[in-house]
């Protein structure tokens, strides 16, 4: 039986830059026990169409332009606010990407879970507590008796997401909307949460709307899929059919952008070590004690090699990358082209800075918002004396050609660019000094898949064109496989395994590597 039937929904946002049609004539339906996956890239309107149903769009700037949403026969879009509030939480519940921002840090998990029962259902404290305990047990929280009195920050990311799910379920909703619930989680944890959501749907006969940018995740869970692009429904239909034989170009594009398979370009590694790392250790001291982020790591990087570094969050992979460039203090030995780098003063570092550069994860944070692209790219050139006032413009424009940016944009500011363009600017800045070695720290994980694909291709071209050596840090195994010649696996600061990429995929030696690979196997 159809539980939610949305017809011709239209939502727009009215800003001073004009009107944005966020959801344009989108219809979908979901029945009990079934899952609808809504897929799209950022800004496609996939979240907006669900938030609009629940009255969670701030108006203004948002505006509901039309359509209806029948939930059990009632039109949610015309429901008075008080009644909509009753529907929200009681009959429709949501879980979000970042559980930490949705939990009140000042209340124990138990108190937050019991709240709706105490205030809306008039349950006694004892009943409510028992109910909460049962639910925590159901979502797989260990020792619910103890956890119920813990505060949100005492849980890990995955456990927190379980708590969020338990909270969403406490009022026995019939429809659950999950907005990117596993995006912030590590692969192994993501797998567990997806399994949990699938189990709960079966057991409780829930209707589920699963919003995600990740086609692999959606294909594992959804019965029906809706693909959105710029507010429009590009394609919708049964999941098996849609993934097997996509009809629209955009869906095909999305599917093609998912990195899969081995590296196609030939390895350019030369049998000559550019970087020799021995016993590298990074420690962070705080009042709680010393945290060893990188623990006795040794490896070599050949000239021309693209070396992958994979690990889950907190494994120390970023600290490792930064310590090679002297951005965090480290112990051990890092020899670059035969010269020991650790222990250099910042003045001694300066000539080496030209030769090694870094590309950062977040293209929104890695560019100075008050400098034009010209200034951003000219700064390293002028600083290192690679260009003077008369030649700098030509050099900057050449750099922009190199990373595939239109020359006309040179006087613009970062906020006027999309994420992918910004990452190109950041790559351009890193390449300005013509370095031999680049550390790329999750350079594509903040980007949409289609953009991710373009940036990966760009990196590959640049490696070949400039003979770069690269340490490519990522949590995404598929990306690493498509780009890297060799891979290091890091866990809790220690090197678990290192091997040539295809050998690692074919015959992983460490248990942890096997776990990672199993969790990351694409469902498609």
């Amino acid at each position: 039986m159809t539980l939610l039937d949305v017809r011709q929904l239209r939502v727009s946002f009215h800003t001073r830059n004009g009107v944005v049609q966020a959801v344009d004539d989108v219809s979908f339906a979901v029945s009990q026990g079934r899952t609808l996956g809504i897929v799209g890239e950022s800004g496609s309107g996939k979240s907006v169409c669900c938030y609009a149903l629940l009255g969670l769009i701030p108006m203004p700037p948002g505006r509901l332009d039309g359509g209806q949403a029948l939930f059990d026969g009632r039109n949610l879009l015309t429901l008075p606010p008080a009644e909509l509030r009753r529907v929200r939480g009681n009959e429709i519940a949501m879980i979000f990407q970042d559980p930490m921002t949705c939990l009140n840090p000042f209340l124990t998990v138990g108190e937050q879970m019991m709240e709706p029962l105490l205030y809306h259902r008039g349950a006694s404290r004892l009943q409510a507590r028992e109910r909460a305990l049962a639910l925590l047990e159901e979502v797989g929280i260990r020792e619910p008796q103890r956890s119920i009195d813990a505060y949100p920050h005492q849980f890990s990311g995955g456990m927190r997401q379980r708590v969020m799910i338990a909270m969403a379920l406490i009022a026995e909703p019939r429809l659950l909307i999950a907005d990117e619930p596993t995006t912030a989680l590590d692969v192994t944890v993501q797998q567990q949460i997806l399994q949990l959501i699938a189990d709960l749907r079966e057991r409780r006969n829930l209707a589920l709307i699963f919003i995600s940018h990740d086609l692999g995740v959606v294909s594992a869970l959804a019965d029906d899929v809706l693909v959105m692009q710029r507010g429009r429904a590009v394609e919708q239909g049964p999941a098996t059919q849609l993934f097997a034989a996509p009809r629209s170009d955009y869906t095909r594009q999305l599917l093609a952008a998912i990195p899969r398979g081995a590296k196609t370009a030939p390895s350019l590694a030369q049998p000559q070590a550019l970087l020799e790392v021995r016993g590298l250790t990074v420690e962070f001291r705080s009042q709680q004690g010393t945290l060893r982020a990188v623990d006795d790591v040794s490896f070599d990087l050949q000239r021309g090699e693209v070396l992958g570094l994979v690990g889950e969050s907190g494994s120390g992979k970023s600290s490792l990358g930064r310590s090679l460039l002297g951005l965090v203090r480290a112990g051990g030995s890092v020899r670059y082209a035969g010269e020991e780098l650790l222990g250099k003063s910042s003045a001694q570092w300066r000539p080496w800075r030209r030769r090694m550069q870094m590309i950062f994860q977040d293209p929104y944070a890695s560019l100075n918002p008050r400098m034009t692209i010209f200034d951003t790219l000219a700064e390293p050139l002028l600083w290192h004396g690679l260009a003077d006032r008369s030649t700098v413009e030509r050099s900057v424009l050449a750099l922009m050609d190199d990373v595939g940016l239109a020359r006309a944009h040179v006087r613009k500011y970062p906020h006027e660019f999309s994420g992918g363009q910004r990452q190109r600017i950041a790559i351009g800045r890193a390449l300005a000094t013509k370095p031999e070695f680049v550390v790329a720290d999750e350079p594509v994980s903040a980007l949409d898949v289609t953009i991710q694909k373009q940036i990966l291709e760009l990196l590959q071209q640049l490696v070949a064109r400039h003979g770069l050596s690269m340490l490519f840090i990522s949590h995404d195994l598929a990306v690493v496989r498509s780009l890297c010649d060799r891979v290091l696996v890091l866990r809790r600061g220690r090197l678990v395994e290192q091997a040539a990429t295809e050998r690692l995929w074919a015959a992983p030696e460490a248990d942890y590597t096997r776990q990672l690979l199993a969790a990351a196997a694409p469902a498609l």
């Binding site: 951005l327 800075r353 870094m358 950062f360 977040d362 890695s366 008050r370 692209i373 006087r411 500011y413």
Partner: protein, 292 residues
């Protein structure tokens, strides 16, 4: 970057231009800015244009109510009140601007260095700020005035020395937050010097909240000056400031109310305008608003 720009290049909008655009659409803030401008011009030009000197007495006239000859009346010595208010405005506005400027210079540098260097330098610099905060600053200013005599320059310095503490704290917080940003790490890995990173990458990005705080500091400094003059330690007759005029007016409030009303009005209107402008700037410079 002064080279001629290629005609095909599109000009971008900087965040400052964006903020300026938003400020211009805020009617209240624009009106306030105009009013402040008019007030400042009047204070600068007024005393020259006026047929009366600010210290020119007319004992025969005494305290006269507003009339066609003396638009805002005269005080007990027969001095033209309008001229004295405009002359006093010069001093009040100057105190506000210079003292705030002093505070801004010390505060920005101090806070930026503390926030950027961190560690022991930060601890020492900020403990000094804490200690100065703990001193009863009014007593500090009053003591300065008593010991060194009533000197206008000293007054600027004293007020500025009191107000920079909060600026330093704001700046430190801003810089500390920005230092975590990746563009600062990028600058570090490019090998830029600390000074370039601090003044090219950090300070311009930290200025927004500080500009807002500045527009709120000017009125508070002006109020402080008014207070110091009111208790008889600041500006002394025959010179005038809004504070000292109000002080004089209070004494004869019942007989000659205009001597209190008009200086009070001048001060309040200016303070209101500054506050509205500050609010407008805060909205205009708000980063979250800038992203919509």
């Amino acid at each position: 970057m002064t080279e001629p720009v290629d005609a095909t290049q599109e000009q971008g909008t900087s965040l400052w231009q964006d903020a300026w655009w938003r400020l211009r659409r805020n009617t209240l803030a624009v009106l306030s800015a105009c009013l402040l401008l008019v007030m400042a011009l009047a204070c600068i030009a007024g005393p020259w244009l006026s047929p009366y000197g600010y210290e020119e007495q007319n004992l025969l006239l005494g305290a006269a109510p507003p009339s066609a000859v003396h638009w805002l009346g005269t005080d007990g010595f027969g001095r033209d009140l309008l001229t004295r208010i405009l002359y006093g405005g010069r001093i009040s506005l100057m105190v506000g601007l210079i003292a705030t400027g002093v505070a801004l210079c010390i505060g920005v540098t101090w806070g930026a260095v503390a926030g950027y260097c961190g560690g022991r330098i930060d601890a020492v610099l900020m403990r000094i700020v804490d200690i100065l905060y703990a001193l009863p600053f009014m007593i500090f200013v009053v003591l300065l005035m008593v010991v060194f005599g009533r000197n206008l320059l000293l007054l600027f310095f004293a007020l500025g020395a009191v107000e920079w503490l909060t600026m330093a704290r704001i700046m430190r917080g801003q810089v500390q937050a920005l230092t975590q940003q990746e563009f600062v790490e990028a600058a570090l890995s490019l090998g830029l010097s600390q000074r370039v990173i601090l003044f090219r990458h950090l300070v311009p990005n930290a200025l927004g909240p500080l500009i807002v705080y500045t527009t709120l500091t000017i009125p508070s400094v002006m109020l402080l000056e008014a207070f110091i003059s009111f208790i008889g330690l600041g500006i002394q007759p025959p010179q005038s400031s809004w504070g000292s005029l109000i002080a004089d007016g209070v004494e004869t409030m019942e007989e000659y109310p205009w001597l209190l009303i008009y200086p009070g009005l001048a001060l309040s209107v200016t303070l209101f305008a500054l506050n509205f402008l500050g609010d407008g700037l805060r909205d205009a410079l708000d980063v979250r608003a800038a992203k919509d």
